[in-house]
Amino acid sequence: MFTTILHFEFKQLLRSKITILFLLVFSVLGLFSYNQGEKLYLQNTAIIDSLIQKQSQQYLNTLNLYDTIKYPPQGKLGEETPYMISYLYQVVCDKKISPLSILTIGQNDVYEIAKSGRFGINIFTNSYTEFKNPEQLQIGNIDVTFFIIYLFPLLFISLSYSVKSDDKEMGRNSLLVAQSRNINALYFYRLSSKLIISCIPVIIIFFYSLYNMHEISDFSFFSFSKWWLIAIHYIFFWFLFVSLILKFNFSSLNNAIMMIGIWILFLIAIPGLLNTYLSYKHPNNSKSDIVNFRDVEKSFANLSFNEHKKNVYTYDSSYIKDSSQHNSDPLINAGIEQYSSELKTFEYEKMLFNNIIQSTDNKLDDAKLAYWINPVGCIYSILSSIANTSIKDQQYFEQSVIDYRFVQMNYLFNNLLKSSRFTKKDFEGMPKFSTANKNLSVTKYLLPVLLFAGLALLGIIFIKRTS
């Protein structure tokens, strides 16, 4: 029976100009949404490539400098001081942008994709931010995730809301019941056929994205499949909900109202209300931090030389054995003061960063609790996590940057205070920044969505209203 019905539905599709137009429009929208994601991805990778290229050029120039440098018999050169070295060779810490960010832009248009690796520039000022239009950010992006989450259900609803009620309203019901061996199976196959037809734009996007993305370096077929599996799960979630509503045998109009009402509830009302509540419960209070940072930095810099020395020796007692050198060279003396100041500032900076992380984590924990009533938020977060465009990915990157800057700082000051010279070999041995995207486990977050799907399935099985 299924093939008969599928054949019948496709025949009807080919004779319905409006449906063909709808499918065409949605397919174009789908391809456009992919195109938007791709544009942003290419733009971001181009920015990073350009920064890395500049960095590489600086590396070569600085290497050449240390290759040809002439050291004086006594005393350090400016080029051997940490601030100068980090100025000559400005490390760029780049976030690894996953090709899957083409499918889920997430917050990639807002978060910073690259930060300066110079230890002396703090988290508040060390970013390479591109120009953005706040009104465009407010409106949001049209990417494949938007298409699947928002537009696909509308297409499916428009094709299937009157699958049963039309027969009743046109008086075909009794004939169908008389003709068919199993009327429920008939409607199930019809709805499934409608689902297949609605998925035509989705299938087009799938193959288009696979074709375009598979050649990108860093492309992971496993992650790509994971992403699409979640998307299919979401599609199936809507199939179950539409089936459930059809079970109630409302009129076509009431079906449409109910389904659109659920669409609005899940996609607009619940996420909107939750975001409003989370903003209220966890307000952003970052203004004071950045202002205080300036004064804290200044206060650390104003300590006496002995206090600075004490800070350095407390941090790493192995410096004490070199202490006789520490009063001799003005550059080394300055280095001690700077190192002590930077150590204190880093402590403060890490504390601020941890506060921000903690505050965000609290918000995220509340958001995750709400997944039980916010399945769309859950799916959206999962897709963002797979595409590495979520806030946790960003925080992981920013933490890597802070960690790297600290390592770099220690390396450079260690060399200044312990080694006689900063040589080409020392420069080549400078720590390099590298980070990989953290693969966050997503399957446990599927539980709320599975719950909803399960409830819908139970509803379909146990509602015994007859046609």
Partner: protein, 473 residues
């Protein structure tokens, strides 16, 4: 027409699903009102505290060289305006803190959205959202079958035979739906205002009542447009189901799809240069001069020579003033020129992108009302530009003041350890600026205002034409 109007009003009020929707809207008013008022109160408190702390830090500076103070810098914050609690526009996407210092123009840091998860992009519900997005749905539910139901229930011929005209029917529906909607809207506005007054405890004599009234009037026009449109569609289509689908598609397209499409397209048509490219161009202009004229070394030499000539000395050390202050100020002046030229290019790109959206608002009243509402509440991009422009003017005043003090305050060229008395800091005025008048702000939204006006005119004319030529068979 009064009879038809009263009859329709009675019937609509009795519809259970509309009663339920009204209750939902009232509940949303309560939730949104409380959240907006408390959030606004927190923002004001934070703003006042941050501003006071920054001023205190400035006044508490030790006696030091003004140049150090120029590097110490000053922080300014975009003011939170009274109507922000109704529509906070793009404020979440704007940096909330701006550092003003010598030799450079910084970007505003810390936009709230940076610390939000990706779910925040699914939107927040505030009062303006309820009015722009949810109320139109309510209008659709009330009016999709306003005329079509008369056909489906076979009342149209009966009505006509009794003497009712199609015009009376159309306007009767429009007026009755408008009555219900305006009641719901004005109750909401009144309630939100009371919450604002009670929870924020802001002095009411500073509240911009005229802006508030214009904001309310604009939304009334928006609702009027939507009601007219819905009734017309119902009349033209004559089938409730189809009318509902058309209106809903219009809602989805106007509110969800078209704005994203337009801004995505505008990004392609008017792309920003990359920051790296831009910074490189900026630095080159400073070094080699704007468009290659007046390179830095030439400028410096010319300036030095002019100073020596003016004071009739042979070297800078012989000057009776501190030339370093003047040289830095001259460099600052040139950098400002460079900044004005290049940043105006960036602003032009943003304005062009937004202009495209404004033009599209002619076919999309949602975009029109969104932009006008943000403008009146001073939470739009243009208001932010006014703040940034005023902040930049203040920065120039501040740096010039410090450089001038350094030059003429009693120190000589090269005296970097010279310091001013602590009482000096108090003579430097704090940052503040008058709010741009409403008319000036609305002048940026001419297209949106024209759009709403055109919609009203076209829809009224359409109703009149339909009333004249309508065929009930």
């Amino acid at each position: 027409m009064k009879i038809i109007y009263l009859n329709i009003l009675k019937r609509i009020i009795r519809q259970k699903h509309l009663q339920l929707m009204s209750i939902i809207i009232v509940i949303l008013y309560i939730l949104v009102g409380i959240n907006s008022a408390i959030s606004y109160k927190n923002k004001i408190a934070l703003f006042d505290q941050a501003k006071a702390n920054v001023r205190k830090a400035w006044l508490n500076q030790p006696a030091q060289n003004p140049h150090s103070s120029a590097h110490y810098g000053h922080y300014v914050f975009q003011p939170v305006t009274a109507l922000n609690f109704l529509d906070n526009g793009v404020t979440d996407y704007l940096g909330s803190v701006l550092k003003l210092e010598g030799h450079r123009q910084n970007d505003a840091a810390f936009s709230p959205i940076m610390n939000n998860s990706e779910m925040a992009r699914l939107g927040e519900i505030n009062f303006s959202w309820v009015l722009q997005v949810l109320i139109p749905l309510f209008i659709i539910l009330m009016s999709f079958n306003s005329i079509s139901a008369e056909f489906e229930q076979n009342n149209i011929k009966l009505l006509k035979s009794q003497g009712a005209s199609i015009g009376q029917l159309l306007w009767g529906n429009v007026c009755s739906i408008l009555t219900i909607l305006l009641t719901l809207f004005l109750v909401g506005v009144f309630f939100i205002f009371i919450l604002y007054a009670l929870l924020t405890k802001q002095p009411l004599n500073t509240f911009p009542f005229s802006d508030f009234l214009i904001w309310i009037s604009t939304y009334m026009v928006y609702f009027f447009i939507l009601i007219l449109f819905s009734v017309i569609i119902s009349a033209l289509v004559k089938v409730s189901k189809l009318s509902f689908l058309i209106l809903l598609s219009f809602w989805v397209f106007s509110i969800i799809i078209l704005p994203k499409l337009i801004y995505s397209t505008s990004r392609i048509i008017y792309p920003y240069p990359s920051k790296q490219e831009f910074t490189k161009t900026l630095n080159e202009s400073r070094k080699k001069g704007i468009d290659g004229h007046d390179p830095m070394d030439q400028r410096a030499k010319q300036f030095n020579d002019s100073l020596l000539l003016k004071y009739n000395v042979k070297s800078l050390d012989e000057l009776p003033i501190n030339a370093d202050g003047l040289i830095m100020q001259a460099d600052e002046d040139y950098a400002n020129k460079v900044y004005d030229k290049h940043f105006s290019d960036i602003r032009t790109v943003t304005n062009n992108q937004n202009q495209l959206a404004s033009i599209i608002s002619i076919i999309n009243p949602f975009l029109a009302i969104k932009n006008i509402s943000m403008t009146i509440a001073q939470s739009d991009y243009n208001s932010n530009m006014i703040f940034l422009s005023e902040a930049e003017q203040y920065r120039r005043y501040l740096i010039k003041e410090l450089n001038t003090k350094m030059a003429y305050g009693g120190s000589k060229t090269g005296e970097w350890d010279w310091s001013v008395d602590v009482s000096y800091w108090n003579t430097v005025r704090d940052f503040s600026y008058p709010q741009a008048p409403l008319l000036k702000r609305l002048s940026y939204r001419k297209i949106e205002i024209i759009s709403l006006f055109l919609w009203v005119v076209i829809l009224i004319v359409s109703i009149k034409l339909i009333a004249r030529n309508y065929k009930i068979v």
